[in-house]
Amino acid sequence: MAVALRSDLTTIAAMLRRSANELIRVPGAAIPGVLAPTIFFLGLTSVFGSLTLLPGFDTDSYKSFMIPVSMLQGAGFTGAAAGVNLARDIEIGLFDRFLASPAPRWVLLTGTVAAAAVRSLIPATVLLIVALAVGAHSPGLDGLVVAIAMVMGTAVLAACWGVTLALRFKTQSAAPLMQSAMLALILSTTAYAPQDLLTGWLATVAAINPMTQVVDATRQGFVGGVTWAGTWPGIVALLGFVVVLGAFALRGMRRTAF
């Protein structure tokens, strides 16, 4: 039992190393996950910066309001990229070799999503530095810890989604579906404005979208103080997403024959 567990952990560590090697050997691989959310952050805060003049905003800095969304967006793209990379491995036949190895399916899935979680720290760090440089409020240590936990959790759920689609379609052409679903999930929340200022269909969807809890939990430190009451709904929402999407991804792994 202990030997098997050690072997599984070694496999997961090897998959993490493989992901890190890709970053070292192909530094450009991390650029899309960093560039798009950074452009969105700088662009959206330049365009919609005046929104904080509306009564109902709990901060006078739209940059502070927006940075958590951009960090989650970066995590979503990074997680979705794990699905694209898996689809590439399937296309070139590498994944068949993984399947032929004695590694259990759950280990292959854990290695893939763990690598995505670690990689999501790259866009989050770059975005945080950019945001602080242009005047966003510091989240404080507790706010930073909560934000990082939410970012890594979001990357895990996005990776599970990406893996599920990669195993279903077996082609990198499914990339837009992986990315746009994550974009829609994160943006159909209180991403642009507080709940009371949302209008139309978004006011209803954001109220019931569990991702709103994740966005609000990540945002706490940037726009005020961190509280347990503001944090636990985000943790529960993320756990729910990961359990459901993880089950789909694992089912896909188990159904995939080599």
């Binding site: 798009a36 700088l42 662009g43 365009v47 910066g49 005046s50 929104l51 003049l53 974009l183 642009y192």
Partner: protein, 260 residues
């Protein structure tokens, strides 16, 4: 080859370009999915912005944003056309066309005709969305027709930039890599918000960004009475983008021919 033959080649390549886009989800998604998604989310997420002092009188933020989605889609179409042309270069399809008795410019013109046709289709798509979800066109049917024409011309103009990148690099991944730059140009224009409410330095850049002129010209018939000044500025913006792209495409094509 005569004029008629050349036009036939352009039409066939244009048709191929349109069909190719709808067959490949990675080309079609940016054209329709992303702009529609952003339109839906931003119009509801930032809907209260119309109450900000200085916001032009509009029925809703959705009405204000609709023309931006059309032009955004035209820009994405230009980029997608560039990617598809680069794929043709990578797979050797363009080499086969170059070896055929087809005028050089017809190869690029065919792709651009397809991009322009897609621009017209996306303009119709967003007009339909606008009518269904309550964005009246203040200038009525003539205004809607003018919007379709302007978006079609814009798609052609942005297509020349995509074609130039494809011909210069011959790499689909490089052309695809320029996709985020589309957003940079969009954010630094009046596409999403009125100029007076933008935050510096976006406000100053937007004042001179040709995309602002194009979006304002497309927006004019939607939210107010069409003015000759806005229309002429919009046409000038399209001419500037298209002229620059055509020049770049010609230079890239000559360079590619010289390299064999």
């Amino acid at each position: 080859m005569g004029v008629r033959g050349t036009l036939e080649v352009v039409a066939v390549l244009g048709r191929r370009s349109v069909l190719q886009t709808f067959r490949r989800p990675q080309l079609a998604a940016p054209l329709l999915v992303f702009p529609t998604l952003l339109l839906a989310i931003q119009s509801a997420g930032v809907g209260e912005a119309v109450n900000l002092p200085g916001f032009p009188p509009v029925d809703s933020f959705f009405q204000f944003l609709l023309p931006a989605a059309m032009v955004q889609s035209a820009m994405f179409g230009g980029n997608a056309g560039g990617i598809a042309l680069a794929v043709d270069i990578e797979t050797g399809f363009t080499d086969r066309l170059l070896a055929a008795p087809v005028p050089r410019f017809a190869i690029v013109a065919g792709r651009l005709a397809g991009t322009a046709a897609l621009g017209a289709l996306t303009a119709l798509w967003f007009l339909a969305i606008g009518l269904i979800f309550g964005a009246p066109i203040e200038e009525g049917v003539p205004g809607a027709l003018l919007m379709i024409v302007l978006v079609t011309m814009s798609a052609f103009a942005f297509g020349t930039i995509g074609a130039a990148l494809a011909l210069r690099t011959g790499s689909a991944s490089i052309v695809q890599g320029t996709f985020p730059l589309v957003f940079v140009v969009l954010f630094l224009s009046t596409a999403f918000f009125p100029e007076d409410l933008l935050v510096e330095p976006a406000q100053t850049i937007a004042k001179y960004n040709p995309l602002s002129f194009i979006v304002d010209a497309v927006r004019d018939p939607v939210i107010s009475t069409l003015t000759a000044e806005d229309l002429l500025l919009g046409l000038a913006g399209i001419a500037l983008v298209g002229g620059l792209g055509t020049l770049m495409s010609l230079r890239a094509m000559r360079r590619r021919e010289a390299m064999g």
